[in-house]
């Protein structure tokens, strides 16, 4: 099976004031591949993810998604999903309300269909019957799962995970890492995990890319 390159990062540079965070950074990711970016804090991992999403403009270089340069595409149109380090479930909506925000209305016409999709994915992440739960009542692990599910529902080309597991305790963490990996593999979704934990990276990724301070 020939692998298709989904993401190409070519010589990107990003600096804040005098601080060069990214210096001619290059990376290629294949479709369906799960990679881990491993490195100490401050090495530019998070900045790289933010550049991929389009929250930060790069100073030079190219980011190509499925062959297209996405320099002028705003974050909301890049079709990239991201699970943030901190909890970003919207407190004014319940679990179902959060999940529904992830489903595009163009593809799924009726509300009932969308609700069904949301319930299905709750089953896949092991949170059957959580639809009406208040997000504030979720445990750390449950919240991470719901966020992952919300991101998956938006059918992104690629999912970025910014240290999503770092705040969890170890047993819960390993189970969640395995479950997440299995789910991504089943759905054949490309993913980039940012972490500073080697064990986490080995458990999750097909390939580990080391980053160091520039």
């Amino acid at each position: 099976m020939s692998k298709k390159v989904i993401l190409e990062i070519e010589n990107i540079r990003k600096s804040y004031l005098d601080n060069n965070v990214l210096n001619d950074y290059c990376l290629k990711v294949d479709e369906g591949e799960i990679i881990a970016l491993l490195g100490p804090s401050g090495c530019g991992k998070t900045t790289l993810l933010r550049c991929l999403c389009g929250f930060e403009e790069i100073d030079s270089g190219h980011i190509k998604l499925t062959g297209k340069d996405c320099a002028n595409i705003p974050p909301e149109s890049r079709n990239i999903g991201m699970v943030f380090q901190s909890n970003t479930l919207f407190p004014h909506k319940n679990v179902q309300g959060n999940l529904l925000l992830g489903i595009s209305k163009n593809k799924n016409n009726t509300t009932n269909e969308r609700i069904e999709l949301a319930s299905n994915i709750l089953g896949e992440i092991g949170l059957d019957g959580f639809e009406k739960r208040n997000v504030a009542s979720l445990s750390g692990g449950e919240a991470r799962r719901v966020e992952l599910a919300r991101t998956l529902l938006s059918e992104p080309k690629i999912i970025l995970l910014d240290e999503p597991f770092s705040a969890l305790n170890k047993d819960l963490k390993n189970k969640l890492i395995r479950d997440t990996r299995d789910l991504l593999k089943i759905k054949n979704i490309t993913a980039i995990l940012v972490t500073h934990d080697l064990e986490e990276a080995e458990l999750f990724a097909d390939r580990i890319v080391h980053m160091s301070k520039q």
Partner: protein, 597 residues
């Protein structure tokens, strides 16, 4: 709880309830006796009197329009102040929120000076006084008489209340965890600006928008000095109550007046209660904990970019608002140097003069000069400071403690008791602010003075109203600071052997020194600017306050050309003192504080 602590908990509540509700109760029973009608039946009498015709409609319409426009104009300011890293941002915010502490009489005469023929708008073709120019066309097209005065009133209400929108909306906008906003951009439910508005901003901001709207509505609804001077032909219920209040307490004589006042007071109380309940409900409904940024490092502010279309638009908007905020104040100051002088064959012209300022301490009115009125005002302000600030601190502390006790209470009953005790106290201290100054003043004059007339001779008597109105501001400034105080400081001090009183004076109060300066300055400013409550109470001329004195000077027949510049000079002095106090507030305002006043 020990006896001393219990006393400290119960005594302020009892005292404050007594000061707020007892005069109101006496006043209402008196009104009902004189009016010979029930409060609800009295409502129907308002429209039967020439001055009352249309007052109810006018009050609701001007308050609604003021509220909507204030919010719409304020949101872009709050948004930009919170999210753009502009140079001089904090100074801009200080200027934009300054009108809120300005005495209402200053706003009234400031806008009057703006719209006069000698003001800056008239040469620009915006004739808000008469029916010429743009305003004349509006008037011709709609058949609406003197729309300029109504426009000026709405503008003054916006000017006054803009601070509320900014203060309530800026914190959630600037403190929101930026990841929340970023994550919604990556989801289909937030991939354009409208869906983000619908799914994120409106629900997140709605409690604060509701709070700002309700407060703006209440302040515009109970507007008195501004209505009295800017739309002299129209009556808000507040103005009706103030101007009919005198006769309303006399049996067999003031029945008609009592009916008007009783009806107005009833509508006003009901409206304000409904507003407050609505606000509480809205905030509860949407009141999920705000996902605030954990640290400053997480905040991301958009760097200021020169020459982009958006930044030019923003700059233009900000400069317009800046002019809008400063113009009435500059107009007051300028008018203090302008006097009409007889010239030529017919009529007068306005000329520059220093006579307004030189007659500040000589032109007297009922034996009181402006300088004397200023010293009276400063005396009341000092008394207000001495009582309202400690009282407010005790209240804030009690509310916080009750909340804490409720959290650790072992039984449901205890928990509920302390929770409601905290909420009840919170409501109680805010009550005087909500029910309006005139209603407080009427409670005092119809209630207390009818029962104990000699009270009017006590020099400290007028300060009661000031204290009631200033205390809510003290509590609002202190409570958030007390809540965010790390309880470990007090615990550590206790382990070091300090008793509760020592802990209060050596640890807690010094830690709160910033907010206390803020609260004190606010209390002084509120007392100095108080108008409605003082105006309706029978006054000893020798103890007249500066805002009331300025009002009297403007009411004086203006045959003597010296009256206006002198009154404007007095207003400039009041304005300058308030500005100094406001600088103190801003200087010591804790960083990131907001959502209060």
């Amino acid at each position: 709880m020990r006896k001393g602590a219990l006393l400290l908990h119960v005594a302020p509540t009892l005292l404050f309830s007594f000061l707020v509700f007892f005069p109101l109760y006496l006043g209402f029973t008196r009104l009902i006796t004189v009016a010979e009608l029930s409060p609800f039946a009295a409502i129907w009498q308002i429209d039967s009197r020439p001055s009352g015709i249309g007052a109810i409609t006018f009050t609701f319409i001007e308050a609604s329009i003021s509220t909507i426009l204030t919010i719409l104009l304020g949101i872009p300011i709050a948004w930009t102040l919170a999210r753009d890293n502009w140079p001089g941002r904090i100074y801009l915010r200080a200027i934009f929120t300054m009108p809120f502490v300005m005495p209402s009489i200053i706003a009234a005469v400031g806008f009057l000076a703006l719209i006069g023929t000698d003001g800056p708008l008239y040469p620009l073709g915006i004739d808000l006084r008469q029916q010429s120019g743009i305003i004349g066309k509006i008037s011709d097209a709609t058949g609406w008489e003197n729309p300029g005065h109504f426009i000026a009133l709405i503008a003054a209400h916006i000017w006054f209340n803009l601070a509320l929108t900014i203060r309530f909306l800026e914190p959630p906008l600037s403190n929101l965890n930026p990841n929340i906003e970023e994550s919604i951009k990556l989801l289909p439910g937030g991939n354009n600006i409208f869906s983000r508005m619908k799914n994120l901003w409106l629900p997140l901001l709605s409690p604060n928008i509701a709070a700002a709207s309700v407060m703006t509505f209440i302040f515009s609804f109970t507007s008195f000095a501004l209505v009295r001077w800017l739309t002299p032909s129209s009556f808000t219920l507040e103005r009706l109550m103030a101007e009919h209040g005198g006769a309303a307490g006399i049996p067999d004589y003031g029945m008609g007046d009592a009916q008007i006042v009783l009806g107005s007071a009833t509508i006003q109380l009901i409206t304000i209660m409904i507003s407050l309940i609505l606000l509480n409900w809205l905030q509860k409904r949407n009141g999920a904990a705000m996902p605030f940024a954990l640290s400053k490092g997480q905040k991301r502010q958009i760097p200021y970019r020169e020459m982009s279309f958006a930044s030019i638009l923003k700059t233009f908007y900000f400069i317009s608002i800046l002019i809008f905020v400063l113009a009435p104040l500059i107009a007051v100051f300028r008018s203090s140097f302008r006097m009409r002088v007889r010239t030529g064959d017919v009529g007068f012209t306005q000329q520059w003069t220093l006579e307004g300022w030189s007659s500040l301490s000589t032109l007297s009115w009922n034996q009181t000069t402006i300088t004397e009125a200023l010293f009276n005002s400063l005396g009341y302000a000092a008394l207000t400071l001495l009582i309202a600030v400690p009282l407010g601190i005790i209240f804030a502390n009690n509310i916080h403690l009750s909340d804490e006790i409720a959290k650790i209470a072992k039984t449901r009953r205890k928990r509920l008791f302390w929770k409601y005790w905290a909420r009840g106290n919170d409501f109680l201290v805010m009550f005087p602010l909500a029910i309006s100054a005139v209603l407080i003043g009427l409670g005092v004059s119809l209630g207390l003075l009818n029962t104990w007339p000699s009270l009017s001779q006590r020099w400290w008597f007028p300060a009661i109203g000031h204290i009631l109105i200033a205390t809510p501001f003290v509590v609002r400034s202190i409570l958030p600071a007390i809540r965010s105080l790390n309880p470990d400081y007090s615990k550590a001090a206790a382990l070091l052997g300090l008793g509760p009183i020592e802990r209060m004076f050596k640890i807690t109060l010094p830690l709160l020194s910033g907010p206390i300066v803020v609260a004190s300055s606010l209390a002084l400013a509120i007392s100095l600017g108080e108008f409605g409550a003082t105006w309706v109470v029978l006054r000893n001329g020798a103890s007249s306050t500066l805002p009331v004195h300025i009002d009297s000077l403007f009411s004086k027949p203006g045959f003597d050309p010296l009256v206006t510049p002198t009154a404007m000079a007095g207003a400039s002095v009041l304005m300058a003192i308030t500005l100094i106090l406001y600088v103190m507030v801003e200087k010591y305002r804790p960083d990131g504080a907001g959502g209060e006043f």
